[in-house]
Symmetry: C3
Subunit: 347 residues, 3 copies
């Protein structure tokens, strides 16, 4: 869908440097742009690509505007401005309102007339599907679940019974919301399954990635607050509460009953053990193990960067024997190695 | 479904302190309980919530019973007793017996009359579906597979051909059982696919989490013994054997041909390399890499707890140079740094 | 499907030591073999099983042939030869050509007559499905996607719109190709979604494991070159390019915009941060965090092997205080601990 630069400037309140009558109909990278496209510069790393871009217009910050060889849309937050313009140039495909004839919809389910229910969808008893909601092909909506206005489920999403999703959400394919939490009571060398009778409560503007799993609560609900963004293959255990506008990157796992604060950034492949309390505005860098509660704001890490394998083998062997090394230092200091030497305390 | 305290005490052989005529019809947490609910105390951490609970009755251990302000059901293993009672108060939804008209069932498949086959299910040739088994909507059961009595597949489960599941199992949505193992023979800079011709053999009382994958064997079967519990997003490689009553927490991965013993506890995000032998009664704490066979019983770890990022960067840089630090200690000791100083051995 | 040893020797150009008229009809492990089966010896670890094997014939290297108690098919690369023979003895099930009556196929989709479209498949507008391609039950093929000749999608695969897959590919169940990349522009404590308008471009001979996710590009395509093999539960972020014949083991994650070279081997559970450049012929061992670009060829690691938990707790506590230990060494050396002592540099 095309737009003139003048229209974009007015619509998004941006300063335009250039011809307002020029048209663009697609976005492009600075390096890959062709005439007729709009690009952006947000990450300074790509600044040197600005000079040679063939884009018709670039969205960028005031400080970069002077270097722009083509038209510029100047924004204080160029990435956010780009995001909004891209949604105009590339609107999501419109799903046709109505229920596909192959779908199986319970008689007492309430489906808005403006909602789109795809082929091979199952909607069980007592569900409510909101205005303009989209339930993608092959998705399953369990009994008593609710999907809010303008929320979209891609193809092949599973909502177990008792899952409530707010408005303007987006759930990607393969995601499973509301499966049983992992609860078993040990008994005589085996286990008794603990029924998981809570549900899942998801706020507005939540995005959940492909093959991400959010377990139902054991007794009360697992909660994702407004604006939470979960990447692909994230695992959220039962009874967790994830605070508003927290983002969790791919392959991270948060174990049961942990509370994560608002506006946190959990990096890729991070593991958080259960029953912890992570404060607001905490960032955890990728590949970190969180085994204690963390106060916010703050940035936390424990990922060890890769080395050449031969060097790492030597390092790892030394690390395994660091106690002996510390003992040798204590002896050099004229002290007995032991519990009272500095650094021996365990946490 | 409601029950009187007297009925519960008799049915589960528990001592009741309180009025046997009181009724409960739901479970609740100690803190969230309303009259008419049953709660429990198993984790001492929640003991201070006991005093103020509004539950009608609490399941707890003998030592805690004196402090209970309401009726008490006294159990040696209160968590297991709670689990059994919760299953009475919150029975799983009953799936209607019979085959949904949309399902595609091969003519020679044997499906018990008491089994429930949901919408859009595919059951291929030669399958056997046991008594009271449930095949959830959109699930696929590959040729020659078997689902035992009382085993339930949630919606959107995939069984490849040649997967045999015992009785009373529960497989969650998105799980994929029997996909090809990752087997490729290197040849001239590329790979030749190694056909994966084994199956998967799963015992009784096995639970498999959402989006968990269990690969078929390369030649013989991949095996999950009785009582194995796999959490969400677990990966089990081809030819593995997981021993009875072993539990594997979320996001853990066990590489091909590894044998894990009985009653093991594999923590979240643990990675186990292939062709290892893990003994019975081994516990591996979360976020640990297992790269050697481990004897049981025992507890093993290698996860590094998160620190403040600035501190961790300093630590990681030091760790990378630990060899130099050890060399300085050796020089202080009057020795040459090198292969014969203590701690330099590689394993 | 059976074959004589003579046929196999001729077809695959192998030296046969033994009776060419003997027949085999299945593969077997050396230890588990019965008469009538073919086994192989590639990993020297299994050599001692050769002596007692009951296989009819063993595929092995010239150096091992003398020890073979039964017929031998001698190959320079016995594992690759075995792989090819196994594909003859155990051919994949043939999917019937044609479109299952339950499938929903857009009127303008081009589906080859020899292709097999399973039950409950959805093929959206503008798709092209090649000769002998197989779309497994319940799979979804989004608008404008292409599936090349002889490529097979197992049951319950999702291709979002704009995914192009080459020839002879194999995509396992639960895989999701083309979901939105994780792109959000921060703004005033929340996020604006960045539309993900690129697609996914996949070469020939690519295999993608169960529940693996490959995100679509933000602007241009995410690319998997020819011969790439991804194991189960792998996550490939938006804009990545994975070089030809690179293999990625289970549970690994590669963050957005990272370029991985050709013939790399990425181990299980490896995490690679975004915007990196990994050279050709790089191997990364399992459970390693890659946070910087890596030159190839080379082998890189950072996974810490498991220890007994009590020992590891002591080690981890020491590691957290390694800065203090280094300071003590500096003092013993008569220097002030600080930025200028060896080993204190941060990277």
């Amino acid at each position: 869908m095309g737009a003139t630069l003048g229209e974009l400037a007015v619509r998004f309140g941006l300063e335009l440097r250039g011809d307002p009558g020029l048209e663009v109909d697609a976005v492009a990278t600075l390096a890959g742009a062709q005439p007729g496209t709009l690009s952006f510069l947000a990450n300074p790393k790509y600044r040197r690509q600005l000079r040679d871009t063939r884009a018709t217009v670039v969205v960028l910050a005031p400080a970069a505007a002077a270097d722009c060889p083509v038209a510029a849309l100047v924004a204080d937050n160029p990435y956010a401005a780009y995001a909004r313009i891209a949604a105009v140039l590339h609107p999501p495909a419109v799903a046709p309102a109505g229920i596909h004839p192959s779908a199986v919809v319970a008689g007492d389910a309430v489906v808005a007339d403006s909602a789109s229910i795809g082929p091979f969808v199952v909607i069980e008893a007592g569900c409510r599907i909101g205005e303009r909601a989209v339930i993608g092909a092959g998705s399953m909506v369990g009994a008593g679940s609710q999907v809010g206005d303008d929320t979209r489920l891609a193809a092949r999403v599973t909502l177990y019974p008792g899952v409530r999703i707010g408005r303007r959400g987006l759930i990607h394919s393969g995601a499973v919301i509301g499966a049983d939490g992992f609860g078993f009571a040990p008994e005589r060398g085996g286990y008794v399954k603990v029924p998981q009778v809570g549900g899942v409560s998801i706020g507005d503007d939540v995005e959940i990635g492909a093959c991400t799993t959010v377990d139902r609560g054991a007794i009360e609900d697992t909660i994702l607050e407004d604006g939470v963004k979960l990447d692909n293959q994230v695992q959220i255990g039962h009874n967790c509460r994830i605070g508003a506008h927290t983002v969790v990157a791919g392959c991270a796992g948060i174990s049961g009953s942990t509370v994560v604060g608002k506006r946190c950034m959990i990096g890729g492949a991070v593991g958080v053990v259960g029953h912890l309390d992570i404060g607001d505005d905490v960032a955890v860098t990728g590949y970190t193990m969180v085994s204690r509660s963390l106060k916010g704001p703050g940035v936390y890490s424990s990922g060890m960067p890769a080395m050449e394998a031969a060097d790492w083998r030597r390092v790892a062997a030394r690390v395994r024997r660091i106690d002996a090394l510390a003992g040798r230092v204590a002896r050099l200091e004229g002290r007995e190695p032991g519990a009272d030497d500095p650094g021996s305390e365990q946490e």
